[in-house]
Symmetry: C2
Subunit: 336 residues, 2 copies
């Protein structure tokens, strides 16, 4: 991408939960935006979103939307990415795509800047943002992998409804209100009631009984670390929480890494905060992590059931580091 002093930036899917977060983050981080182009489907046309004190109108996404756009941040689902990302690239934009459409494409870098920024070199117009659970997990695992080489990971996720989108936030709130008023609940987004319930399914199922989400975490991790032998098995669960994803993680390392060594390795890692004081009941919580940029790690303790085992608890804001922030950080790297 040609370096400039300011850039025309488009947000595709601007009215969604992640899209709105992207607009805020571009402003907060003073990204050098000369013009912000907000794009969405017909339904949202005419809405306005505030950016630097101005109400920017949302325009309808069409094939002609990308003329003059330098950087297009896509967060409107895989189908729209597959259709419009190539159009944007043809118009000269660099696309940073938050959907899963291109993540496993060998020509497309899949990047967490703190982990594998070097993979941005030689991109062909599209860069993929990893899955929100993958980002939180790898932010914490990379420093431990560098310190002691991780051999195997067993991860169980506690994912908030905002990972599904705005309609899911409304569904959790609406069902909760209905139940507290002894009324029938409505189910539109999830196959089962999410209020006061946990659903062990995120995305569709594959032949082998895993969900796509579970497969994504395993596959994306291998690609980002550039290590096909890296072993991850995941169980992904939706919990009745509005924002932030938590992950209970068990790892086995090649070399011994005590709990204190792990804390030291994590404390030195960019974008990671160790928050781990059991004596005062302090550990990361989804509630406290909403709106935070860093990935929080606690409950760090040795697991004696394998020679070099560790357990940890990771929490990150799925809309920020898990999506919008990571995308803007990629854009920052491209403009440096």
């Amino acid at each position: 991408m040609q370096k400039k002093s300011t850039y025309v930036v488009a947000v595709v899917g601007a009215t969604g939960a992640v899209g709105r977060e992207m607009v805020s983050i571009l402003e907060e981080r003073k990204f050098p935006v000369s013009e912000l182009v907000l794009l969405a489907s017909d339904r949202s046309e005419g809405e306005r979103i505030e950016f630097r004190g101005k109400n920017i109108p949302v325009r309808k996404l069409t094939k002609d939307s990308f003329a003059g756009v330098d950087i297009a941040l896509f967060t409107a689902g895989s189908e729209r990415s597959l259709k419009f990302a190539p159009v944007a690239v043809a118009a000269g934009s660099v696309v940073i795509d938050n959907s899963s459409a291109f993540r496993m494409d060998p020509k497309v870098p899949l990047v967490i800047p703190e982990v594998n920024a070097a993979d941005l070199e030689g991109h062909a117009g599209i860069i993929a943002n990893p899955n929100c659970s993958t980002i939180g997990l790898l932010m914490a695992l990379k420093p431990l992998h560098d310190a002691a080489k991780i051999r195997r990971v067993v991860v169980t996720t506690f994912q908030s409804v905002s990972g599904t989108g705005k309609e899911a936030i409304d569904e959790l709130a609406g069902q909760t209100v209905a139940l507290l008023n002894f009324k029938d609940i409505e189910k539109k987004v999830y196959p089962h009631q999410i209020a006061f319930n946990c659903i062990p399914q995120i995305d569709g199922f594959l032949e082998d009984g895993a969900t796509r989400e579970e497969m994504k975490i395993a596959g994306e991790t291998k690609k980002i670390l550039g290590d096909d032998s890296f072993k991850v098995t995941a169980t992904c669960v939706r919990v009745p929480v509005f924002r932030c994803h938590a992950e209970a993680v068990n790892i086995e390392t090649e070399r011994k890494l005590g709990a204190n060594d792990a804390r030291a390795a994590l404390a030195g890692a960019p974008g990671v905060i160790v928050y781990d004081d059991p004596s005062r009941s302090l550990y990361p919580l989804q509630l406290d992590t909403a709106g935070k940029d860093d990935v929080y790690v606690g409950r760090i303790r040795e697991d004696a059931t394998v020679p070099n085992g560790l357990n940890l608890w990771i929490v990150s804001d799925n809309l920020r580091k898990g999506a919008a922030l990571n995308a803007v950080q990629i854009a920052e790297h491209l403009t440096r």
Copy 2:
């Protein structure tokens, strides 16, 4: 215990969440009760609980409460069990204790009837009921252990607030209502807000960074299976759900056990139901399991990151099979 045609049964802690469930289950299962003695602290004295169409008054627990009592079901916390269980035994009662007070005592059998009923032989007056998460876990693991010998278990729990008791049920409901009305929440039971949040702490912390709950699951499992080499590492998490505990479990077995073999082994086990049809989004849910006696297992799939790995998702009603039902089943065995 002397076999009789009917028994005087006491429930100690009768007004709590588990105590009330014990009374219902004694009635439902037509346990041969000649007289039901309901005991609780001063606070609950005078309350009445229905049993076989009669309202039985709750009496204050004292050292004289056990005269003539054949079977005393204790569920009033460890402190009261430590104080009053020996008194009951001295008065000639057999105590079935739902607290953790005596579970690891080598003289006290720790029993899940479907798993190790034989351990009831030669008890010395007190029999311990395992932890609610241990019971759900072992009901599902025992058939797999018999089929292929389990070497290691990594378990992450999603535990409902009813595991803490009635005050915790009120706390989740109260905090939820307060938040939906934009009011401040009250915290009495948990160290952090539980409404729309997950708390990775159940019970207090030990020196090694694990919680007592996590230690209990590992220790009780070894005792119940009579195998000190059985390896379990646990992460226990409280979730904003009223009833039933879910557990995401990863196991490694000595011999290969495919997903279908595992389903077959589980389907033949007493008290276990395989509920596993991903193509129709069917898997056990906490919501559906409330009030059920069986332990439900789904999401059964092979884990290729180890030679003989399996993932499963277990849900059981923590108040019934996880506590009250298991205790009554022990009583049934003693009277057979």
